[in-house]
């Protein structure tokens, strides 16, 4: 299927690893010009080298914070200078929780009783301000072209907060992010711009693996047991690959999906409970 995005300029935040990297790779295969942005230059360089082989001359990397609106605006301006007006914006910034899981402690994992409100603000910056700033910086280009695709990599907890784990912050902030995209979709539909949100479920990433290590320690079980426990909850019986997430994102960003907007769609092997 021709997705009709050949020559389009796409920005993928958090594009150097995991899901962001898989999305950037798919866009590169589809002929898009791809800019990946991430905080860590070393991750960026490795991923860029790989993308360059798929799409020589059509990839660019920028080391920058994607949570600070001024920095996001600079990334968008640099991308435009390099490749032309932006058509596709993928926001893929993670919150504190998984980082915290990696460290084994930190500001993200916490409870209502124990968590102070400063951490709520940090998570809000991380998840909502980041995607708001990226959309806002890219919308003028999209309006001018009469064509645009905004897609946020969110989380299933937006619709079904996880209450069996101490994941207070994403449970509180993911729903506002999903709602913000729904509201932006209503505003932008008449400009030929679609806005969608992915409810990430059980996708196998490095961060997920490190999370299981933390969970196993937390519950005093082995990593294999923790992994099995998580896998048993997935109706399809396995974790998804980042490329399977990227397949949906690429479709939503294609010309074929021009009537699909304002949606929050789970990618979780049937693990979501809502109708």
């Amino acid at each position: 299927m021709d997705y009709g995005i050949s020559g389009r300029v796409a920005i993928v935040s958090g594009g150097s690893r995991g899901i962001g990297r898989a999305i950037a790779t798919t866009f590169a295969h589809e002929g898009a010009k791809v800019v990946i942005a991430s905080r860590t230059l070393s991750n960026l360089e490795e991923t860029l080298a790989e993308l360059e082989e798929i799409a020589p001359g059509r990839v660019h990397g920028i080391a920058a914070s994607m949570t600070d609106p001024e920095s996001v605006a600079r990334v968008v301006a640099e991308s435009r200078d390099r490749f032309g007006p932006i058509s596709i914006a993928i926001s893929n910034v993670i919150g504190h929780v998984i980082d915290a899981a990696k460290e084994g402690s930190g500001p993200g994992a916490g409870t209502f009783e124990g968590m102070g409100t400063e951490a709520y603000r940090e998570e809000f910056t991380q998840l909502l301000i980041s995607s708001w700033a990226l959309a806002r910086a890219c919308v003028p280009d999209m309006q001018q072209q009469g064509w645009g695709r905004i897609c946020n990599i969110g989380s299933g907890v937006a619709r079904e907060p996880s209450t069996n784990l101490p994941h207070l912050l994403p449970n509180v902030v993911r729903a506002p992010v999903a709602g913000m995209h729904r509201l932006m979709a209503a505003r932008l539909a008449s400009d030929g711009i679609t806005v969608n949100n992915i409810l990430t479920g059980s996708i196998l990433t490095e961060r997920n693996r490190s999370y299981w290590v933390w969970l196993a320690r937390e519950r005093n079980i082995t990593v294999a047991e923790a992994t099995q426990d998580m896998t048993d909850r997935i109706p399809l019986g396995r974790f998804g690959e980042p490329s399977e997430m990227a397949a949906l994102v690429a479709f939503l960003c294609s010309d074929r999906a021009r009537m699909v907007t304002g949606q929050s769609i789970p990618v979780g092997g049937g693990g979501s409970a809502h109708l």
């Binding site: 609106p69 409870t111 209502f112 009783e113 409100t117 709520y120 603000r121 809000f124 909502l128 301000i129 708001w132 700033a133 959309a135 806002r136 919308v139 907890v157 937006a158 907060p161 209450t163 069996n164 207070l168 449970n171 509180v172 902030v173 993911r174 729903a175 506002p176 999903a178 709602g179 913000m180 729904r182 509201l183 932006m184 209503a186 505003r187 932008l188 304002g262 809502h274 109708l275």
Partner: protein, 188 residues
Amino acid sequence: MDLQLRGRRVSVFGPDEGIVAACRRVLLAEGAVLAESSSGDSYPEADVVIAVGGVRPGSDLLEISDPDELYAAWDDVTNAVDAYRAALPRMLDQKWGRFIWVGSAQAKSVDAEADELAAMASLGMLGLHKVITGEVGSNAITANAVLRGGIATDEDVANAVTFLCSEGAAYLSGITITVDGGAGSGIF
């Protein structure tokens, strides 16, 4: 119906004075008493905490250029969290409590009302209420929301809030009651 609110200590706060006053009026008529402290920002002696979100009619997330406007709306959430947490020890101790958020019906249906900042803040509170329900619900502490839309009056909203405070609502937690006169068209 006796709502069994006699003597319950309630704290109602937020930038919307009309709603705050209506909630107080209806609750006091049911025999509840006010728990406000003189300092005004913390209510450790409340059995019922009602946080009323601000309204910014016509707010448009894409029109906003200064992120501080988003943070200001988010302050409604963190102010609610501070008040909730201040009251939590008492509620846990007595094994009874009510947390109620009054927000925007646009959180559930884009056509209910045009106040995107209020919708955003409300969605955060709905997530928080699910967490609270899972974490402390077994102590007969509930957390629910009233979402206003259409041309609901302050009184309409206060009536729903008061019901959620009552004993009749003891088995409701993590839910929302939309008070919008049927304006919103979303089913789920």
